[in-house]
Amino acid sequence: MNKRFTRILATSVAAVALVGSLGACGKGSASAPSAGSNEITMWTHNAGNAEELKAVENIVDSYNKSAGAKAKIKVQAFPQDSYNDSVVSAAAAGKLPCIVDIDGPNVPNWAWAKYLTPLKLDADVSKNLPSTVAKWEGETYAVGTYDVALAMLARASDLKAAGVRVATVEKPWTKDEFQDALTKLKALGKWEYPLDMGTAGTGEWLPYAYSPFLQSFGGDLINRDGFQSADGVLNGDKAVEWAQWFRGLADQGFMAKKSGKDSTQDFLNNKSGLLYTGSWAADKARAAVGKDLVVMPSVDLGNGPKIGGASWQWGVTSGCTNSAAAMDYLSYSLKPENLAAVAKATGTIPATDEAAALIPAFAKGGTNRIFMELSRNYAVMRPETPAYPFIATEYGKAVQDILAGADPKTALDKSVKAIDANIKSNGGYKN
């Protein structure tokens, strides 16, 4: 027994030594630049996305090797789903890096929280897709190298069999046409639910995917005049109409109240006939379905088709001690060839026409050109207010409640009450 305990104690001592040695070898690279190192750190959300990370690293490498580089950029990648939590923790500890990746709709919140500083770039961003430039209170806080767009995917053969026309950017489906299309597709008897709207989605997917329908009805997430209240727009007649329509899609058996975990895969496995998804799914779908795949715009529910604008963008933190170098790098990263490299690697929409011309799929006549047109014609920015993350959460809850059977007006009133209270308790989110 004594020998056994001696072993335990020895192991404990060894463990203490191991902590010491781990400590000695286990200090990660600091986020802040060390004195005189002329190195700045850049955080990105794409750990695990080898193609996008590689494209970003290539731009950084070429900047670092360029004669005019004002600092050496060092990339630290984080997994996307947990990226925001890492940033918020680092901000609490005062350890933010110089350059950060931000999901577009969160930019005003991060600017309001003083994480970000306004950008002063040499690059001209006036010709970029509007949804790739994030502004708040008249200042530009972030720029993106790409955007994504929502669309409807279907097999042309299914639409033909059902006698449904292919919707186009010039002539999208109206609300009645959409109802008719779903009725005819359901009548084919090929699928339990002909439409997959990704209703199993959570988080940012809910406002990103479904608030454009609300806007197409004439409602909105918040009154954009001052961004002080959601009353009347998120719970007004148009919003209630949207909620009843959305719930009706499930009640009529057109879509599942909770879809499968991977809607794209279900579409490819012929478990649905019409898929509402983002441009990121197009290449995978085209590879599987081939020329039978059709990409169509979202539905016009009264006020024209709408889709969410803004994807991941880049900003400079307010605590950056070498912001001139950070801005210089961002300007460099916005060169057409760099925009094209990232868009090509990720299958996303390049931020400028000049960059699009370098990618056959996005050049005029290319298979993915439609996404660029959808973005230019139909993108609506999610409300550019620091309250957006809270609004998004409340709206997401309302969507799930409505799908689960809650009274639409009651669910929306509840959201409005919570949103208005939050804005008030934050002093109107004034700068």
Partner: protein
């Protein structure tokens, strides 16, 4: 007599069948995970509505495992988690048993208050402490050997020790050791003291050798949360080379999720726990029975 034997045999068979059914239900998620890790995505979803979802049939390969190592530095993450968990367990046993020993054996004024205060911390969920703790650990001094000079800097963020030291002291472990130590007769201490033993000798040579079951329970209950740790490393670790395995799972949730790879990675990080469970099956069951806590 013959009829009794037959009915007894039937009863045993029925009991075994029910047990097998429960075992199968419990095993289904793990079997599904392991089997799916060998299939391409399209087949995983295609098999979902049939029993094939639980069978290694169709287009079976190790491609998903190869892809896991392409996407994530899985070996590094595994080694990190093994190191962090092992050190947390060993130091946790040592520190918490020492604390419990003092509270159980030593006559110190106010020890009941101290013990109550320690237990009171159990009702505070970690999530509420996480952000203040980040601030705290960022204020702590950090010592680093650079050649022959000792450098001192501020902040423990992005280190191994920030993933270990905050989780060594644990109120529940102290409570378990304390309750176990209370069941060991104090006469043994007195006998040892007559033989000239001091407090540490009594702890080391009398009490701890008799506290094997409590030590095993604490080891298991410390290991599992250390291995499953997710929120804390997410908040305090920025460098990829220091990340534990659970953070790695997030690497797979991109816009187009590769479920086969998710299942392969999940299988990989489950294997050490399963091996540990098989090796210490009896202690695992005892720990759940004695603590009422499922890992």
């Amino acid at each position: 007599m013959k009829q009794t034997l037959i009915s007894k045999g039937l009863g045993n068979a029925a009991t075994t069948a029910v047990r097998l059914l429960f075992a199968a239900v419990a095993a289904f998620p793990i079997v599904f995970m392991m089997v799916s890790s060998l299939k391409p995505d399209q087949q995983i979803f295609g098999d979902m509505s049939s029993v094939a979802a639980f069978l290694p049939v169709g287009n079976i390969s190790l491609d998903n495992y190869a892809a896991v190592f392409d996407r994530v530095p899985a070996a590094r993450f595994l080694m990190n988690s093994i190191g962090i968990s092992a050190v947390t367990v060993v130091l946790g046993i040592f520190i918490n048993s020492l604390c419990a020993f003092a509270l159980s054996r030593m006559e110190v004024r106010g020890k009941r208050v101290v013990f109550t205060a320690i237990l009171a911390t159990l009702i505070v969920p970690f999530q509420t402490l996480a952000l203040p703790l980040v601030w705290w650990v960022n204020q702590l001094p950090y010592f680093e050997l650079n050649g022959f000079s000792l450098e001192i800097s501020k902040g423990w963020l992005d280190t191994y020790q920030v993933q270990i030291i905050p989780f060594i002291a644990n109120a529940f472990s102290i409570y378990l050791f304390h309750q176990y130590f209370e069941s060991i007769p104090k006469e043994l201490d007195e006998a040892a003291r007559i033989d000239g033993a001091g407090w540490f000798t009594i702890y080391r040579k009398v009490v701890m050798p008799l506290a094997g079951p409590a030590t095993a329970t604490v080891a298991i209950l410390t290991f599992l949360p250390a291995w499953n740790s997710y929120l804390w490393p997410l908040m305090v670790v920025q460098s990829e080379e220091l990340r534990p395995v659970m953070i790695g799972i997030q690497y797979f949730f991109q816009l187009n999720v590769s479920w086969g790879e998710v299942m392969a990675y999940a299988s990989l990080i489950t294997i050490p726990v399963v091996v540990l469970f098989i090796a210490f099956q009896r202690s695992f069951i005892n720990s759940i029975a004695s603590s009422g806590v499922k890992g």
